[in-house]
């Protein structure tokens, strides 16, 4: 079962956490420079303020008399990001295969494959997130992501009957949900597709499911065909362009010993991320998604077994080691648990495409040109002197994670004398 956790009115909920006087009042959060409405409380939705509405047009929608009732707040993205990380980290530690889809949404797997147990688990999770972080979350679960998205929408729209958790656990439930779902509310069906489908008499998700496969394939692209199949309960994850790219880059290793120290596993993850990013740059590609996994030792009876993974989407696809490592560390901190032993860890880059195809993100704050120049300089030094002559400071822990290399050929280590040479000369200076 796929689960989708979705934070209710996320930006407004974050503001309410730090200012409970906002509870129960109509609140909107405005984009940068107070341009448009990017989040609305339920009260603001009920007043008829549309999503994306320019701030100066709010009064047109609700009338000048009620304008003073609405609290308009400037967005504080750093705050929202921090709260988001807390929630994702709680999810990552409690669930398997977390995929952070956006700042306020994440997919993961239901743990039990048992409707009763899963539902209780998800209810406890919603309660835990509310207690720990103060943010109301809705969770939907269903056989496919597209259906899980519909389930989470039902959970969010009917808080009194669902208490924030709703599962499409039988064909009967799926059918009645599809009848009530407008085609425009189906994940992946945008405004143009909605129009095209309406023109062909398809107004609800149920009508879309009835539409013959062959027609869907001939009229629309593969993504729409996948959505069509997912609504029927056929999981298209493996083929979906959203999560799986044409190829991926992976770097992982089995450790020589079972590692328990957070710093050591983290250093390994940073090393793998750096290595992957170097490979990306050498091909002139960028990655859109970073996935990190950790795994214990199933055969050790003295240490409890733990294994998990987490993937994050980059704001803008990148090949910079700084960016890739940054995201890898975030993913890592979402899944690492103290008290377990780790035998293996790995980093995988997904959604890989040529550098030239990158579309810049309007909200991305990184200076990509500056990072590109830095990366070129580092790659140049490393090619010329030694693979690891320059690396990020966070890779250098004790090195327990490195493979056992008692029988290493000496010539393979020759690169190291750059290090020793530098140490020797600095010692000489200090003794003078």
């Amino acid at each position: 079962m796929y689960c989708l956790a979705d934070c209710n009115n996320f930006f407004v909920s974050c503001e309410r956490l730090y200012d409970p006087t906002l509870n129960g009042r109509p609140v909107v959060v405005l984009s940068n420079n107070d341009g448009c409405v990017i989040a609305r409380s339920n009260e603001a939705k009920a007043m008829g303020i549309p999503m994306g509405c320019p701030a100066f047009q709010i009064k047109k929608h609700i009338g000048t008399a009620r304008l003073n009732d609405v609290i308009q707040l400037s967005a504080r993205h750093t705050l929202y990001h921090d709260i988001s990380l807390r929630i994702m980290s709680l999810l990552g530690r409690s669930c398997e295969r977390l995929e952070v889809y956006s700042v306020d949404e994440a997919f993961f797997q239901a743990p039990f494959n048992d409707p009763v147990k899963d539902e209780q688990f998800l209810r406890d999770l919603v309660a835990k997130i509310y207690k720990y972080v103060g943010i109301p979350v809705s969770i939907g679960y269903a056989p496919t992501r597209t259906l899980a998205k519909i389930a989470s929408r039902i959970a969010k729209k009917n808080p009194d009957t669902t208490q924030g958790v709703y599962g499409l656990t039988s064909q009967h439930l799926i059918d009645s949900a599809l009848v009530k779902t407008d085609i425009s509310d189906v994940w992946g069906i945008g405004r143009r597709l909605t129009e095209a489908l309406r023109n062909r008499g398809v107004g609800s998700a149920a009508q879309f499911v009835q539409y013959p496969n062959s027609l869907v394939r001939s009229l629309f692209n593969i993504t729409v065909a996948h959505t069509h199949a997912e609504l029927k309960g056929i999981d298209c994850t493996a083929a979906s362009p959203v999560t799986v790219a044409h190829k991926s880059i992976m770097n992982s290793r089995t450790f020589g010993t079972l590692i328990t120290s957070r710093n050591e596993v983290q250093a390994a993850v940073v090393h793998f991320a750096e290595h992957c990013s170097r490979q990306l740059r050498s091909e002139g590609s960028v990655a859109g998604t970073v996935m990190v996994y950790v795994r214990g030792d199933r055969y050790r009876e003295d240490v409890p077994f733990y294994s998990n993974s987490c993937q994050l989407n980059l704001a803008t696809p990148s090949s910079s080691a700084l960016t890739i490592v940054h995201y890898a560390l975030q993913a890592f901190s979402c899944i690492f648990k103290e008290g377990f032993g780790y035998r293996k860890a790995g980093v995988m880059l997904l959604n890989i495409k040529p550098e030239t195809m990158v579309q810049l993100n309007l909200f991305d704050k990184e200076d990509h040109n500056k990072q590109n120049r830095l990366m070129r300089a580092i790659d140049h030094i490393n090619t010329r002197y030694a693979t690891q002559a320059v690396n990020l400071a966070s890779t250098s822990a004790k090195g327990e994670w490195k493979p056992r290399q008692q029988h290493l050929n000496q010539s393979a280590q020759s690169a190291l004398h750059i290090y020793s040479g530098m140490v020797a000369s600095s010692k000489k200076k200090s003794s003078l």
Partner: protein, 140 residues
């Protein structure tokens, strides 16, 4: 006016040298201790990073409990409020830090300063226990 301003905590670990000998408020001799271990204050002070927030104290209603103006409070929202705990509460539009006293006739917010009155929380108050204080960090 709010008595508290609540913030998040940057989770990057910073390792500090840990002086591993019992210090009895005398003159510790560095030679007795074993150096080498490091300590990360985030690790030491924060057991639930997802649920931990931090706030700086304004005002002196809690001085008899050792909480002074300018001190930093660590708030662990994962802790369940209990009778006698010190908590950050939200009451009628303001954040405040007080000792929570659960009595037969309801919840009281008890200051630790004789110049301030106890407050009996009733149904007219817009009231919420925001989080339990787990640590106080103060500058000497």
């Amino acid at each position: 006016m709010n008595e508290l301003e609540i913030n998040s905590i940057d989770q990057d670990p910073i390792s500090l040298q840990f002086f591993d000998s019992q210090i009895q408020a005398g003159f510790p001799s560095p030679a007795q201790g074993s150096f080498g271990d490091t300590i990360d204050l985030n690790d030491e002070l924060i057991s639930n990073p997802e649920a931990t927030f931090c706030a700086r104290v304004i005002g002196n209603s809690m001085i008899d409990s050792g909480i002074n103006e300018g001190d930093l409070l660590l708030i662990d929202r994962s802790l369940t409020p209990h009778d006698g705990c010190i908590a950050v509460c939200f009451i009628d539009g303001e954040f405040t830090v007080k000792r929570v006293s659960i009595r037969a006739d309801g919840i009281y917010l008890v200051p630790a300063n004789k110049r301030f009155p106890e407050l009996h929380v009733n149904s007219d108050n817009n009231f919420q226990i925001w989080g339990v204080v787990s640590h106080i960090i103060k500058k000497l």
